[in-house]
Amino acid sequence: SESQYDYEVYHSLEEIQNWMFEMNRSHPELVTMLSLGKSYEGRQLYVLQLGKRNLPPKKSVWIDCGIHAREWIGPAFCQWFVKEALSSYKYDSVMTQLLNHLDFFIMPVFNVDGYRFSWNTDRFWRKTRSKNHKFHCRGVDANRNWKVKWGNVGASSHPCDDTYCGPFPESEPEVKAVAKFLRKHKKHMKAYISIHAYAQMLLYPYSYKYEPIPNFNCVESAAQSAVTALYSAYGVRYRYGPAATTLYVSSGSSIDWAYRNGIPYAFAFELRDTGHFGFLLPESLIKPTCTETLKAVKAIALGLLKKC
Protein backbone atom coordinates (compact mmCIF):
# COMPACT_ATOMS: atom_id res chain seq x y z
CA SER A 1 0.00 0.00 0.00
CA GLU A 2 0.97 3.61 -0.35
CA SER A 3 2.18 4.06 3.23
CA GLN A 4 4.53 1.11 2.92
CA TYR A 5 6.04 2.08 -0.40
CA ASP A 6 9.71 2.96 0.06
CA TYR A 7 10.70 5.94 -2.07
CA GLU A 8 14.30 5.70 -0.94
CA VAL A 9 15.06 2.48 -2.78
CA TYR A 10 15.12 1.58 -6.46
CA HIS A 11 12.14 -0.38 -7.70
CA SER A 12 11.60 -2.85 -10.50
CA LEU A 13 9.33 -1.90 -13.40
CA GLU A 14 6.59 -4.11 -12.05
CA GLU A 15 6.78 -2.49 -8.61
CA ILE A 16 6.64 0.97 -10.20
CA GLN A 17 3.62 0.10 -12.32
CA ASN A 18 1.78 -1.38 -9.34
CA TRP A 19 2.61 1.78 -7.41
CA MET A 20 1.09 3.87 -10.24
CA PHE A 21 -2.14 1.89 -10.06
CA GLU A 22 -2.19 2.48 -6.32
CA MET A 23 -1.62 6.23 -6.71
CA ASN A 24 -4.47 6.34 -9.24
CA ARG A 25 -6.75 4.36 -6.93
CA SER A 26 -6.03 6.25 -3.75
CA HIS A 27 -6.04 9.84 -5.12
CA PRO A 28 -8.98 10.04 -7.52
CA GLU A 29 -9.36 13.78 -6.93
CA LEU A 30 -5.83 14.57 -8.09
CA VAL A 31 -4.59 11.63 -10.17
CA THR A 32 -5.59 10.08 -13.46
CA MET A 33 -3.63 7.19 -14.94
CA LEU A 34 -3.18 7.09 -18.71
CA SER A 35 -1.58 4.72 -21.15
CA LEU A 36 0.00 6.28 -24.21
CA GLY A 37 0.39 2.98 -26.03
CA LYS A 38 2.81 0.06 -25.96
CA SER A 39 6.57 -0.36 -26.08
CA TYR A 40 8.48 -2.44 -28.62
CA GLU A 41 8.14 -5.48 -26.37
CA GLY A 42 4.46 -4.76 -25.77
CA ARG A 43 4.56 -3.15 -22.32
CA GLN A 44 2.15 -0.36 -21.46
CA LEU A 45 3.52 3.21 -21.46
CA TYR A 46 1.86 4.56 -18.35
CA VAL A 47 1.58 8.21 -17.37
CA LEU A 48 0.10 9.80 -14.25
CA GLN A 49 -1.77 13.09 -14.72
CA LEU A 50 -1.60 15.16 -11.54
CA GLY A 51 -3.70 18.24 -10.85
CA LYS A 52 -6.95 19.44 -9.40
CA ARG A 53 -9.87 18.56 -11.64
CA ASN A 54 -11.34 21.76 -12.93
CA LEU A 55 -12.28 23.23 -16.30
CA PRO A 56 -11.14 24.81 -18.56
CA PRO A 57 -7.99 22.82 -19.40
CA LYS A 58 -4.97 24.22 -17.55
CA LYS A 59 -1.39 24.92 -18.56
CA SER A 60 0.50 21.62 -18.46
CA VAL A 61 3.96 20.36 -17.56
CA TRP A 62 5.37 17.09 -18.90
CA ILE A 63 8.06 15.22 -16.94
CA ASP A 64 9.58 12.01 -18.27
CA CYS A 65 12.11 9.83 -16.46
CA GLY A 66 14.21 6.91 -17.59
CA ILE A 67 14.71 7.59 -21.29
CA HIS A 68 18.10 5.94 -20.76
CA ALA A 69 17.62 2.64 -19.01
CA ARG A 70 20.68 2.62 -16.74
CA GLU A 71 19.92 6.05 -15.23
CA TRP A 72 17.83 4.67 -12.36
CA ILE A 73 17.75 7.89 -10.36
CA GLY A 74 15.34 9.24 -13.03
CA PRO A 75 12.41 6.91 -12.28
CA ALA A 76 13.18 7.34 -8.56
CA PHE A 77 12.72 11.09 -8.98
CA CYS A 78 9.45 10.80 -10.89
CA GLN A 79 8.02 8.68 -8.10
CA TRP A 80 9.38 11.12 -5.51
CA PHE A 81 7.73 14.03 -7.33
CA VAL A 82 4.32 12.32 -7.32
CA LYS A 83 4.64 11.37 -3.68
CA GLU A 84 5.62 14.88 -2.61
CA ALA A 85 2.98 16.54 -4.81
CA LEU A 86 0.16 14.43 -3.39
CA SER A 87 1.32 14.49 0.23
CA SER A 88 1.94 18.22 0.31
CA TYR A 89 -1.21 19.31 -1.54
CA LYS A 90 -3.15 21.62 0.80
CA TYR A 91 -0.21 21.72 3.23
CA ASP A 92 2.39 23.42 1.07
CA SER A 93 1.05 26.62 -0.47
CA VAL A 94 3.34 26.44 -3.50
CA MET A 95 2.44 22.85 -4.39
CA THR A 96 -1.23 23.63 -3.78
CA GLN A 97 -1.00 26.59 -6.15
CA LEU A 98 0.82 24.47 -8.75
CA LEU A 99 -1.69 21.61 -8.65
CA ASN A 100 -4.63 24.00 -8.71
CA HIS A 101 -3.36 25.90 -11.74
CA LEU A 102 -1.27 23.34 -13.65
CA ASP A 103 -1.63 19.78 -14.83
CA PHE A 104 1.49 17.63 -14.49
CA PHE A 105 1.95 14.61 -16.76
CA ILE A 106 4.49 12.30 -15.15
CA MET A 107 6.04 9.33 -16.96
CA PRO A 108 8.10 7.47 -14.35
CA VAL A 109 9.61 5.02 -16.87
CA PHE A 110 9.81 6.15 -20.51
CA ASN A 111 12.00 3.28 -21.68
CA VAL A 112 10.11 0.43 -20.03
CA ASP A 113 11.79 -2.41 -21.95
CA GLY A 114 15.28 -0.99 -21.38
CA TYR A 115 14.68 -0.40 -17.69
CA ARG A 116 13.50 -3.96 -17.22
CA PHE A 117 16.54 -5.26 -19.15
CA SER A 118 18.84 -3.08 -17.02
CA TRP A 119 17.15 -4.38 -13.86
CA ASN A 120 17.41 -8.07 -14.82
CA THR A 121 20.22 -8.60 -17.31
CA ASP A 122 22.59 -5.77 -18.24
CA ARG A 123 22.86 -3.08 -15.54
CA PHE A 124 24.43 -0.60 -17.95
CA TRP A 125 21.98 -0.93 -20.83
CA ARG A 126 21.09 2.51 -22.21
CA LYS A 127 18.93 2.12 -25.30
CA THR A 128 15.51 0.73 -26.07
CA ARG A 129 15.16 -2.99 -26.89
CA SER A 130 14.03 -2.86 -30.50
CA LYS A 131 15.53 -5.36 -32.94
CA ASN A 132 17.40 -4.59 -36.11
CA HIS A 133 16.92 -7.22 -38.80
CA LYS A 134 20.34 -6.55 -40.34
CA PHE A 135 22.44 -6.42 -37.17
CA HIS A 136 22.53 -8.59 -34.04
CA CYS A 137 22.73 -5.42 -31.89
CA ARG A 138 19.50 -4.22 -30.35
CA GLY A 139 18.14 -0.90 -29.31
CA VAL A 140 17.99 2.75 -30.26
CA ASP A 141 19.04 5.74 -28.18
CA ALA A 142 15.60 7.17 -27.44
CA ASN A 143 17.19 10.59 -27.02
CA ARG A 144 18.49 10.58 -30.62
CA ASN A 145 15.24 9.32 -32.19
CA TRP A 146 13.13 12.51 -32.16
CA LYS A 147 12.29 14.25 -35.45
CA VAL A 148 14.54 17.27 -35.09
CA LYS A 149 17.75 17.37 -37.08
CA TRP A 150 17.47 13.58 -36.79
CA GLY A 151 20.51 11.44 -37.64
CA ASN A 152 22.89 14.32 -37.62
CA VAL A 153 25.79 15.43 -35.47
CA GLY A 154 26.30 13.64 -32.17
CA ALA A 155 24.19 10.68 -33.22
CA SER A 156 25.32 7.43 -34.77
CA SER A 157 23.81 5.55 -37.65
CA HIS A 158 25.36 2.27 -36.52
CA PRO A 159 22.91 -0.01 -34.68
CA CYS A 160 25.62 -1.24 -32.33
CA ASP A 161 26.49 2.21 -31.04
CA ASP A 162 25.05 3.59 -27.80
CA THR A 163 23.99 6.76 -29.62
CA TYR A 164 22.28 4.93 -32.49
CA CYS A 165 19.54 7.23 -33.79
CA GLY A 166 17.38 4.45 -35.24
CA PRO A 167 16.32 3.58 -38.80
CA PHE A 168 14.05 6.64 -39.00
CA PRO A 169 12.69 9.37 -36.68
CA GLU A 170 10.17 8.07 -34.11
CA SER A 171 11.02 4.51 -35.14
CA GLU A 172 10.77 3.60 -31.46
CA PRO A 173 7.17 3.08 -30.37
CA GLU A 174 7.98 4.69 -27.03
CA VAL A 175 9.18 7.89 -28.72
CA LYS A 176 6.31 7.86 -31.22
CA ALA A 177 3.72 7.47 -28.45
CA VAL A 178 5.09 10.35 -26.36
CA ALA A 179 5.55 12.59 -29.40
CA LYS A 180 1.96 11.89 -30.45
CA PHE A 181 0.68 12.72 -26.95
CA LEU A 182 2.66 15.94 -26.75
CA ARG A 183 1.50 16.99 -30.22
CA LYS A 184 -2.09 16.35 -29.16
CA HIS A 185 -1.73 18.42 -25.98
CA LYS A 186 0.52 21.02 -27.54
CA LYS A 187 -1.89 23.91 -26.95
CA HIS A 188 -1.67 23.63 -23.17
CA MET A 189 1.82 22.08 -22.77
CA LYS A 190 4.06 24.88 -21.48
CA ALA A 191 7.04 22.93 -20.17
CA TYR A 192 8.80 19.69 -21.10
CA ILE A 193 11.24 18.24 -18.54
CA SER A 194 13.34 15.11 -19.11
CA ILE A 195 15.27 13.51 -16.26
CA HIS A 196 18.70 11.95 -16.96
CA ALA A 197 21.93 11.22 -15.09
CA TYR A 198 24.83 11.78 -14.35
CA ALA A 199 26.53 15.24 -14.77
CA GLN A 200 24.69 17.64 -12.44
CA MET A 201 23.48 19.95 -15.15
CA LEU A 202 20.29 21.68 -16.25
CA LEU A 203 20.20 21.90 -20.02
CA TYR A 204 17.88 23.63 -22.47
CA PRO A 205 17.75 23.94 -26.28
CA TYR A 206 19.43 23.81 -28.56
CA SER A 207 21.40 20.60 -28.53
CA TYR A 208 21.90 20.38 -32.25
CA LYS A 209 23.22 23.86 -32.90
CA TYR A 210 24.97 26.71 -31.12
CA GLU A 211 22.42 29.38 -32.08
CA PRO A 212 20.53 30.76 -29.03
CA ILE A 213 16.81 30.12 -28.74
CA PRO A 214 14.41 33.02 -29.38
CA ASN A 215 13.17 33.22 -25.76
CA PHE A 216 16.66 32.78 -24.35
CA ASN A 217 16.30 35.38 -21.60
CA CYS A 218 13.16 33.82 -20.13
CA VAL A 219 14.51 30.26 -20.32
CA GLU A 220 17.89 31.27 -18.93
CA SER A 221 16.25 33.01 -15.98
CA ALA A 222 14.01 29.98 -15.35
CA ALA A 223 17.10 27.75 -15.38
CA GLN A 224 18.94 30.10 -13.06
CA SER A 225 16.10 30.14 -10.54
CA ALA A 226 15.89 26.36 -10.78
CA VAL A 227 19.56 25.71 -10.03
CA THR A 228 19.46 28.34 -7.26
CA ALA A 229 16.53 26.51 -5.68
CA LEU A 230 18.35 23.20 -6.10
CA TYR A 231 21.50 24.59 -4.47
CA SER A 232 19.48 25.85 -1.50
CA ALA A 233 18.77 22.28 -0.40
CA TYR A 234 22.24 20.79 0.08
CA GLY A 235 24.62 23.25 -1.56
CA VAL A 236 25.07 21.07 -4.66
CA ARG A 237 26.06 23.14 -7.67
CA TYR A 238 24.54 22.41 -11.07
CA ARG A 239 25.86 23.91 -14.27
CA TYR A 240 23.16 25.18 -16.61
CA GLY A 241 22.85 26.50 -20.14
CA PRO A 242 22.18 25.46 -23.74
CA ALA A 243 22.91 21.76 -24.15
CA ALA A 244 25.18 22.24 -27.19
CA THR A 245 27.62 24.43 -25.28
CA THR A 246 27.16 23.13 -21.75
CA LEU A 247 27.38 19.41 -22.52
CA TYR A 248 27.88 18.51 -26.18
CA VAL A 249 26.22 18.82 -29.54
CA SER A 250 23.70 16.10 -30.35
CA SER A 251 20.75 15.77 -32.68
CA GLY A 252 17.36 14.14 -32.37
CA SER A 253 17.02 15.00 -28.69
CA SER A 254 13.69 15.25 -26.92
CA ILE A 255 14.21 18.78 -25.58
CA ASP A 256 14.97 20.15 -29.06
CA TRP A 257 11.95 18.34 -30.47
CA ALA A 258 9.68 19.65 -27.68
CA TYR A 259 10.92 23.19 -28.16
CA ARG A 260 10.60 23.08 -31.95
CA ASN A 261 7.08 21.73 -31.49
CA GLY A 262 5.97 24.80 -29.59
CA ILE A 263 6.68 23.99 -25.95
CA PRO A 264 8.32 27.23 -24.75
CA TYR A 265 10.27 25.74 -21.83
CA ALA A 266 12.16 22.50 -22.44
CA PHE A 267 14.74 21.20 -20.00
CA ALA A 268 16.87 18.13 -19.48
CA PHE A 269 18.16 17.53 -15.97
CA GLU A 270 21.35 15.54 -15.60
CA LEU A 271 21.08 14.54 -11.95
CA ARG A 272 23.79 13.41 -9.50
CA ASP A 273 26.53 12.70 -9.46
CA THR A 274 29.58 13.85 -11.47
CA GLY A 275 31.19 10.45 -11.66
CA HIS A 276 31.95 9.22 -8.19
CA PHE A 277 29.21 6.59 -8.39
CA GLY A 278 28.02 7.46 -11.89
CA PHE A 279 24.97 5.32 -12.77
CA LEU A 280 25.33 3.44 -9.49
CA LEU A 281 24.10 6.26 -7.25
CA PRO A 282 23.46 4.57 -3.90
CA GLU A 283 19.94 4.42 -2.52
CA SER A 284 21.14 6.53 0.42
CA LEU A 285 21.45 9.43 -2.06
CA ILE A 286 17.96 9.09 -3.54
CA LYS A 287 16.41 11.34 -0.87
CA PRO A 288 18.81 14.30 -1.11
CA THR A 289 18.99 14.08 -4.89
CA CYS A 290 15.22 14.01 -5.28
CA THR A 291 14.64 16.67 -2.62
CA GLU A 292 16.91 19.18 -4.36
CA THR A 293 15.58 18.32 -7.81
CA LEU A 294 11.99 18.78 -6.63
CA LYS A 295 12.87 22.32 -5.56
CA ALA A 296 14.22 23.01 -9.05
CA VAL A 297 11.18 21.57 -10.82
CA LYS A 298 8.83 23.57 -8.59
CA ALA A 299 10.79 26.73 -9.43
CA ILE A 300 10.39 26.04 -13.16
CA ALA A 301 6.67 25.29 -12.77
CA LEU A 302 6.09 28.41 -10.68
CA GLY A 303 7.73 30.43 -13.43
CA LEU A 304 5.03 29.25 -15.83
CA LEU A 305 2.38 30.96 -13.70
CA LYS A 306 4.16 34.28 -14.03
CA LYS A 307 4.66 36.32 -17.14
CA CYS A 308 8.14 36.45 -18.65
Partner: protein
Protein backbone atom coordinates in the same frame (compact mmCIF):
# COMPACT_ATOMS: atom_id res chain seq x y z
CA UNK B 1 25.17 -12.56 -7.07
CA UNK B 2 23.19 -10.01 -9.09
CA UNK B 3 23.52 -10.25 -12.89
CA UNK B 4 25.22 -13.63 -12.41
CA UNK B 5 28.32 -11.83 -11.14
CA UNK B 6 29.07 -10.71 -14.71
CA UNK B 7 30.67 -7.45 -13.53
CA UNK B 8 33.10 -9.01 -11.03
CA UNK B 9 36.48 -7.43 -11.45
CA UNK B 10 35.29 -4.87 -13.99
CA UNK B 11 36.40 -1.35 -13.25
CA UNK B 12 35.52 2.22 -14.17
CA UNK B 13 38.45 4.42 -15.20
CA UNK B 14 38.40 8.19 -15.11
CA UNK B 15 40.86 9.44 -17.73
CA UNK B 16 41.90 13.09 -17.71
CA UNK B 17 42.93 14.66 -20.98
CA UNK B 18 44.92 17.87 -21.13
CA UNK B 19 45.70 18.30 -24.81
CA UNK B 20 44.75 17.20 -28.29
CA UNK B 21 47.66 14.81 -28.57
CA UNK B 22 46.31 12.88 -25.61
CA UNK B 23 42.81 13.01 -27.15
CA UNK B 24 44.06 11.38 -30.34
CA UNK B 25 46.09 8.82 -28.44
CA UNK B 26 43.11 7.88 -26.26
CA UNK B 27 40.79 7.59 -29.24
CA UNK B 28 43.30 5.25 -30.80
CA UNK B 29 43.60 3.14 -27.63
CA UNK B 30 39.84 2.97 -27.15
CA UNK B 31 39.47 1.94 -30.76
CA UNK B 32 41.32 -1.24 -29.87
CA UNK B 33 39.74 -2.05 -26.52
CA UNK B 34 35.96 -2.50 -26.24
CA UNK B 35 34.85 -0.27 -23.40
CA UNK B 36 31.45 1.02 -22.31
CA UNK B 37 31.42 4.81 -22.42
CA UNK B 38 29.79 6.35 -19.35
CA UNK B 39 30.71 10.00 -19.92
CA UNK B 40 30.78 11.28 -22.55
CA UNK B 41 28.55 8.78 -24.31
CA UNK B 42 30.86 8.17 -27.29
CA UNK B 43 34.46 8.48 -28.43
CA UNK B 44 33.47 11.14 -30.95
CA UNK B 45 32.61 13.47 -28.04
CA UNK B 46 36.00 13.18 -26.34
CA UNK B 47 37.82 16.49 -26.22
CA UNK B 48 40.82 18.00 -24.42
CA UNK B 49 40.59 19.46 -20.92
CA UNK B 50 37.89 17.01 -19.99
CA UNK B 51 37.49 13.67 -18.24
CA UNK B 52 36.36 10.43 -19.81
CA UNK B 53 34.68 7.73 -17.69
CA UNK B 54 34.77 4.25 -19.18
CA UNK B 55 33.65 0.85 -17.89
CA UNK B 56 36.41 -1.66 -18.63
CA UNK B 57 35.99 -5.41 -18.51
CA UNK B 58 38.32 -7.22 -16.14
CA UNK B 59 40.23 -8.93 -18.96
CA UNK B 60 41.08 -5.60 -20.58
CA UNK B 61 42.16 -3.71 -17.49
CA UNK B 62 45.87 -4.54 -17.68
CA UNK B 63 45.98 -3.68 -21.36
CA UNK B 64 44.30 -0.31 -20.94
CA UNK B 65 46.39 0.43 -17.86
CA UNK B 66 49.61 -0.29 -19.76
CA UNK B 67 48.60 1.75 -22.79
CA UNK B 68 47.61 4.78 -20.73
CA UNK B 69 50.90 4.56 -18.83
CA UNK B 70 52.80 4.30 -22.08
CA UNK B 71 51.10 7.40 -23.46
CA UNK B 72 51.58 9.18 -20.11
CA UNK B 73 47.84 9.90 -19.98
CA UNK B 74 46.57 10.67 -16.46
CA UNK B 75 43.89 8.35 -15.11
CA UNK B 76 42.49 7.06 -11.83
CA UNK B 77 40.04 4.40 -10.75
CA UNK B 78 36.48 5.62 -10.13
CA UNK B 79 35.11 2.21 -9.27
CA UNK B 80 37.51 -0.59 -8.30
CA UNK B 81 35.03 -3.43 -8.48
CA UNK B 82 31.84 -2.83 -10.37
CA UNK B 83 30.11 -5.97 -9.09
CA UNK B 84 30.64 -4.91 -5.48
CA UNK B 85 29.30 -1.43 -6.23
CA UNK B 86 26.23 -2.90 -7.92
CA UNK B 87 25.57 -5.13 -4.93
CA UNK B 88 25.93 -2.10 -2.66
CA UNK B 89 23.62 0.06 -4.75
CA UNK B 90 20.50 -1.92 -4.23
CA UNK B 91 21.70 -4.50 -1.76
CA UNK B 92 20.85 -8.07 -2.59
CA UNK B 93 17.11 -8.86 -2.38
CA UNK B 94 17.61 -10.55 0.97
CA UNK B 95 18.90 -7.37 2.50
CA UNK B 96 15.94 -5.53 0.97
CA UNK B 97 13.63 -7.95 2.77
CA UNK B 98 15.51 -7.14 5.95
CA UNK B 99 14.90 -3.46 5.26
Amino acid sequence: YQYNNRYAGDQVFRITLTNDTEVQALKKILGLIKVDFWQPISASLIHSNSTVDVHVKRNDIQHLHARLKLERIKFRMLIFDLQKEIEKQTGYPSSRKRR
